[in-house]
């Protein structure tokens, strides 16, 4: 009798205990992903849209059972649009034992942290990183944006061949040299190929105090037919404002770096007719694209841009790899990312090559009536 009773009680209280445990215990800790974004500072406009795109992706994943039941958590860090800061925050993230890192925004920051992340073998995905420095390397960095050199080539061809401009000037922000240098180089190369000439290459650093007026004067002074601007959106807008104020009407080309709303709001009518290549089809009719735009608007009460889209894709791509890893795969995340190729993105399927590079098509766009419109599709 006693034995039975004892057994009964053990079972009873075990039951209560287990119930309490489950009731009071914390749920499984989420999978932590580091996010380096330029949320403040000069790149904040782009940076916030990038972050929002990633955030929405994380929310979407968590809403549908997360990574096999575990939630994703985005640990957001602000590099304040500074590559030094980017390094600092990367260190912080690594110290917090994040599984992977998404970001940073600029190629300069990416270059800055490359050694650190490779040493620590942390998978890092740069959704809008385009710098050549990161390309064609088997490492822990996944570059999702077409390399800047390609941009440069294409714009060079556009300027020298299509538009027949022979005297070209370049103005670039040395703060993001990793991004700007390859563009300038390949642009010049292409221009030379087509018999053009880069007459002036103006460098400035946006960290310093600038006088856009003075820069405009410099440009005008070199008397080019066309101008390649490899600058941030605000700088691009301001320079163009000054140019127009000073009466210059030269054809300007811009890298996709400047392609943001800020360009238009700050540029006003000065930016009309600017030509840009963007690795993003804003006119896509794919249902995934339409869906994404609608969801983004519902979530953030404004329209997304290419940064949001790429960040969104980056998170989903990472999620796939994490799912594989959670099933007990011994492989590292970066290998899984490569193996998991191809992926379904917002703009359609994309491949990750063995170097961890993704390249997409470039769409020629211009600004008309305060809106970006695609002129040419590849």
């Amino acid at each position: 009798m006693n034995k039975k009773l004892t057994a009964l009680f053990i079972i009873l209280f075990a039951g209560i205990f287990i119930f309490a445990w489950f009731h009071f215990s914390q749920p499984e800790p989420p999978i932590r992903i580091g996010y380096i974004g330029s949320l403040t500072g000069k790149f904040s406009d782009l940076g916030t849209t990038c972050r929002d795109g990633a955030l929405m992706a994380v929310e979407e994943i968590n809403a549908s059972n997360g990574i096999n039941g575990r939630k994703l958590q985005l640990v957001v860090r602000d590099d304040q649009s500074s590559s030094d800061m980017a390094l600092t925050v990367t260190k912080q993230l690594i110290a917090q034992n994040v599984q992977a890192i998404i970001g940073p925004l600029t190629s300069a920051s990416a270059k800055e942290i490359l050694d650190l992340i490779n040493d620590n073998e942390i998978l890092t995905i740069g959704p809008v990183i385009a710098g050549d420095f990161m390309a064609k390397k088997e490492d822990f960095f996944i570059k999702m944006y077409t390399s800047t050199s390609i941009f440069g080539s294409k714009m060079g061809e556009l300027a020298a061949s299509d538009k027949g401009l022979k005297r070209l000037a370049i103005i670039s922000d040395d703060d993001n040299l990793a991004y700007t240098a390859p563009i300038a180089t390949s642009f010049e190369k292409k221009v030379n190929e087509f018999g053009g000439e880069v007459v002036e290459s103006i460098h400035f650093n946006s960290q310093n105090n600038l006088s856009f007026s003075k820069l405009a004067d410099e440009i005008i002074a070199s008397n080019p037919d066309g101008l390649l601007m490899v600058t941030a959106p605000l700088a691009t807008a301001m320079i163009l404002q000054q140019l127009r104020l000073k009466g210059s009407n030269i054809q300007c080309f811009s890298s996709s770096w400047a392609a943001s709303k800020e360009l238009i709001t700050e540029g006003g009518s000065a930016v009309e007719g600017l030509l840009l290549y963007i690795a993003f089809n804003s006119k896509s009719t794919l249902p995934s694209h339409t869906q994404f735009i609608n969801n983004y608007k519902a979530r953030f009460a404004k329209a997304p841009n290419y940064c949001s889209s790429f960040n969104h894709d980056a998170v989903f791509m990472l999620a796939e790899a994490l799912k594989e890893a959670s099933k007990g795969s011994q492989k590292k995340l970066n290998e899984l990312i490569i193996e998991g190729s191809p992926y379904k993105g917002i703009q359609g399927e994309f491949d990750v090559d063995k170097n961890g590079d993704i390249s997409g098509d470039l769409f020629l766009q211009t600004i008309k009536d305060g809106k970006f419109i695609i002129i040419d599709t590849p």
């Binding site: 209280f13 309490a20 974004g37 904040s44 406009d45 916030t48 972050r51 602000d78 404002q241």
Partner: protein, 922 residues
């Protein structure tokens, strides 16, 4: 609930239920408490939101107003420098504006503070603030944005005026300052969100710079759409409550958030604590129960053991209580045990007495002897009183006469000393038992008494030599209805005698008296019964030995008595007859009922002689019926005596017939003689005629020659003319007639017997011849037509018999047979006699068989009876066979039997002994 659930289990069960109940209460209570807390906090946070709301509103009111003022100034068309300085004043003084600028209608910058010539003239027509201001009236607020320069959230307010648009970038750092003043809780925060849900002010200032959009919080969505209130929301994966209030004008949102965990933390903690406490208490409770169970059950166990002992018969057990609480239980248990013990003893004692009585009664019913009874009583009184010795004494009523000897006197008592006294030793081995004072006291003074010191009663204070020592003594007399039947004495009980013993033995003594009386009565009764039975039997034998039927009837005709003869005659047994009506048993006596009644009423016997009754139409019985009136048991009735006088009547008839026969015989003899004479003449003359014609006589020749006729011719003529035949026939007939006469003479002349040694075959043949001469006109049968088959054995020895008589017998049989066969219808067959004679042992057997109609069994059995005939009345006397039977069996010591197969044959078998023996004289 099962009947035998363990108490422990129930208690434990109860405890578990209680703890579960408590736990549930705790849960419910904590939930309730939690919700109360949430409500309180919600209320508080709402209030907080409202106050922040108001504060914010006031903060934003100022720059709005300033802008309006400056726009008014701008309308007055001041110079660029004037305007710029005015803007400068506004920007520096207000400190809320980061930058103020005035644009013309096309969106180009006219003036800006702080001053920056680079900015003059640039096209800001695409700026949302410009577009908005131009589209609407009044001050417009743009979406927030993070200033690259100040790294703070900013918002632009703009106002259109005739001539342009004035705009000011408002630094929203102050919002964070407001939100940081008060914290709803340690982990909670206050946030101000712009129209799009982006954080522009936050308790944690760093969050304001990141353009974080909280539109995914339901509270925010609801708040921005105008639904102020408190809602459950999640922030940073933490569940919490969010209170939202919308700032009018800007339509921004104040959000007060508090994580639920933080709020409910203490409650949950308390709950966990309480649950654990309940758990611990329950566990310790169980442990305590288990422990106390032992303690508690020990006394119960003791009780169980003791109770079991009591139930097994130990009444000495007592309980000493360990705990005060069980004192009352122990006391009552002890009382109970004691009381039961006492009662048990009493009951046992009673039971013993009952047993004794029962056995005595049983003995009484089984063996009705005083010896057996005494033995039983002896055993029991010893047992009941635990005595060593006992003495049972009965008084023989024959010797004891209460009248003359009212007191018990030693010389009057017939002693039966029970042989089973202690160890086969009698109480007193002496030859005589002296009075002794003890004995005297017992017999004369106090018949029922006991003494535990009997010495005081001893004569000369000592017992006689050889007497066993007496420690104590008890004596009771057994009296039945004032008559003394006996005495019971017991002695030497180790515990001494008490009043209880005395009453016990008295009970037994009473029963003994009754028993003895009963035995005696019983014996007397048996004797009387025997006498009565003998008398009855004697009487019955007399009645039954009477050859008449004696039937006792009541006046209504119900049979009350029935004797053996009646049973024999009617076939009805005594049991069947008594109680039934006379007419049901003997129908033909029913007519006598009237005579019965006459007899009863006249008290005179009635006789009715020679009543005939025919049970069947062939048999006639004759009865004398005499009726005697009777008074039986006070009830009137009669006895009917029926004498079967059939034999006598028949004998009378036989005698009459014999007389008749004798006279017939005499007549026959006379006739025969008369006939013989002419017959002799016929025979003689016919013989002579024959001789004289056909005889070889000389005289014939001579006379023929004399008459001159040829004798031959005469013979020839006579032969041809059948004269010779006729002559022969005359001779034959005459011869036959002579034979018949002779036979008849022989037949009728009974006294002339010719006993001799005869050959039965010859006699039979002779009879056949005689029979063949019979031609009975009446009977219409012709004996000559019957086939005769003779099967005579060779060399049959003679038998000694009276020839005539045997012939008579044979003739009778043949005649009967012939007559019978005449009545049968022979289809293919013909009537025949088969006659067999054979030697059989020391007898000669004669069989006369015919293939006539035979006879049935009933007839066959009675065929030899005198006057029994199968022929119709008037035909035949029925004497033939009976006489034949008489002759064969009686006269010749032979046997005569008949066998028959109805419809086929009949066979008479006669046996005569061969031995030379004098046949009995008739």
């Amino acid at each position: 609930m099962k009947k035998n659930t363990s108490l422990h289990r129930r208690v434990v069960f109860g405890l578990v239920i209680l703890s579960l109940f408590t736990a549930s209460l705790i849960f419910i209570g904590s939930s309730y408490l939690g919700s109360q807390i949430i409500d309180d906090i919600s209320q508080r946070n709402m209030n907080l939101a409202e106050s922040i709301n108001i504060q914010t509103w006031y903060i934003l009111k100022e720059p709005t107003q300033d802008l309006i003022d400056v726009s008014k100034y701008a309308e007055t068309n001041p110079t660029k420098e004037q305007l710029t300085s005015r803007l400068k004043a506004l920007q520096e003084f207000g400190r809320i504006f980061q930058k103020v600028q005035v644009l013309d209608d096309s969106g180009h910058v006219i003036a800006v503070a702080p001053e920056n010539n680079d900015l003059i003239g640039i096209d800001l027509s695409r700026q949302p603030f410009f577009i908005k201001a131009q589209e609407s009236n009044g001050v417009q607020w743009t979406d927030s944005f993070i200033s690259g320069q100040t790294a703070t959230p900013m918002v632009t307010i703009s106002l259109a005026f005739p001539g342009g648009v004035i705009s000011g970038h408002v630094n929203l750092k102050v919002l964070s300052e407001i939100t940081q003043v008060t914290h709803p809780s340690a982990k909670g925060f206050i946030s101000i969100l712009d129209k799009k849900g982006i954080i522009i002010g936050h308790s944690n200032a760093s969050l304001t710079l990141r353009g974080i959009n909280l539109l995914n919080m339901p509270a925010v969505k609801l708040g921005l759409s105008g639904n102020e209130g408190t809602y459950n929301s999640e922030f940073n994966s933490e569940q919490g409550i969010a209170s939202v209030a919308q700032i009018k004008g800007t339509k921004w949102l104040v959000l007060v958030f508090q994580p639920k965990d933080e709020t409910l933390g203490p409650v949950h903690y308390l709950r966990s604590f309480a649950l654990v406490a309940v758990l611990l208490i329950t566990l310790s409770g169980l442990v305590a129960i288990a422990y106390f169970r032992k303690m508690l059950f020990k006394p119960i166990q003791t009780l169980t053991e003791r109770t079991e002992a009591v139930s097994l018969g130990e009444y000495d057990v007592r309980i000493k209580p360990e705990y005060k609480e069980f004192g009352a239980l122990a006391a009552s248990f002890n009382d109970m045990a004691e009381a039961i013990g006492i009662r048990e003893d009493e009951i046992f004692h009673e039971a013993q007495i009952n047993k004794a009585q029962a056995e005595i009664v049983r003995t009484l019913t089984e063996k009705t002897s005083i010896r057996a009874l005494s033995k039983v009583v002896h055993e029991w009184v010893l047992e009941l009183t635990m005595s060593e010795y006992a003495f049972i004494n009965t008084i023989d009523p024959i010797i004891y006469d209460p009248q003359t000897q009212p007191e018990i006197n030693k010389s009057s008592t017939k002693k039966r000393i029970c042989p089973l006294t202690y160890g086969n030793n009698p109480i007193y081995s002496g030859k005589e038992i002296s009075h002794g004072m003890l004995w005297d006291h017992t017999l004369n003074t106090e018949p029922n008494f006991y003494s535990n010191d009997p010495e005081k009663y001893f004569e000369a204070n000592s017992l006689p030599e050889g007497h066993i020592s007496l420690k104590n003594f008890l004596s009771v007399s057994a009296t039945y209805q004032t008559e003394l039947m006996g005495q019971i004495v017991v002695a030497n009980s180790p515990q001494g005698y008490t009043h209880q013993d005395l009453s016990t033995i008295q009970v037994i003594a009473d029963l003994l008296a009754v028993a003895v009386n009963r035995i005696r009565e019983h014996q007397t009764l048996i004797q009387s019964e025997k006498n009565l039975r003998d008398l009855r039997n004697y009487l019955a034998n007399i009645i039954n030995s009477m050859p008449s039927m004696l039937i006792g009837v009541s006046p209504s005709g119900i049979i009350t008595q029935w004797n053996l003869e009646a049973e024999k005659v009617t076939g009805c047994s005594i049991e069947e007859a008594i109680g039934t009506h006379l007419k049901d048993v003997i129908p033909h006596l029913a007519n006598e009922m009237s005579r019965v009644n006459i007899a009863i009423s006249t008290k005179q016997k009635q006789t009715n002689l020679k009543q005939t009754h025919t049970p069947d139409y062939r048999d006639i019985h004759y009865e004398d019926i005499t009726i005697y009136p009777l008074i039986e048991d006070g009830v009137e009735g009669a006895v009917i005596r029926v004498d079967d006088v059939t034999e006598r009547v028949r004998l009378e008839q036989v005698m009459v017939q014999s007389e008749k026969m004798m006279s017939v015989g005499g007549l026959a003899a006379g006739m025969a003689h008369e006939i013989n004479n002419p017959l002799a003449a016929i025979l003689g003359h016919s013989h002579n005629i024959n001789r004289r014609i056909f005889g070889d006589l000389k005289q014939n020749e001579i006379t023929a020659a004399k008459c001159n006729i040829s004798l031959e011719d005469v013979r020839k003529y006579l032969t041809e003319r059948d004269i010779l035949k006729m002559l022969n026939s005359i001779q034959e007939s005459g011869q036959r007639a002579a034979t018949i006469v002779s036979n008849m003479l022989n037949f009728s002349r009974k006294s002339e017997k010719s006993i001799g040694s005869f050959n039965l075959a010859e006699l039979l043949d002779k009879t056949l011849e005689l029979a063949s001469n019979e031609y009975d006109l009446k009977n219409q049968y012709d004996f000559r037509k019957i086939e005769i088959v003779r099967r005579y054995e060779y060399a049959i020895p003679n038998v000694r018999c009276e020839g005539n008589e045997i012939q008579q017998v044979f003739l009778n049989l043949l005649k009967n047979g012939a007559e019978a066969m005449a009545e049968k219808d022979y289809h293919d067959d013909n009537p025949k006699f088969i006659l067999r004679i054979r030697k059989k042992g020391s007898t000669v057997e004669v069989e006369i068989e015919d293939n006539g109609p035979g006879m049935d069994e009933k007839t066959r059995l009675r065929i030899f009876e005198p006057f029994y005939t199968t022929k119709k009345v008037g035909k035949g006397t029925g004497l033939g066979l009976s006489v034949s039977y008489f002759i064969v069996t009686d006269q010749h010591n032979g046997t005569m039997e008949v066998e028959s197969e109805p419809g086929l044959w009949t066979r008479f078998t006669l046996c005569f002994s061969i031995e030379e023996k004098d046949s009995p004289q008739t």
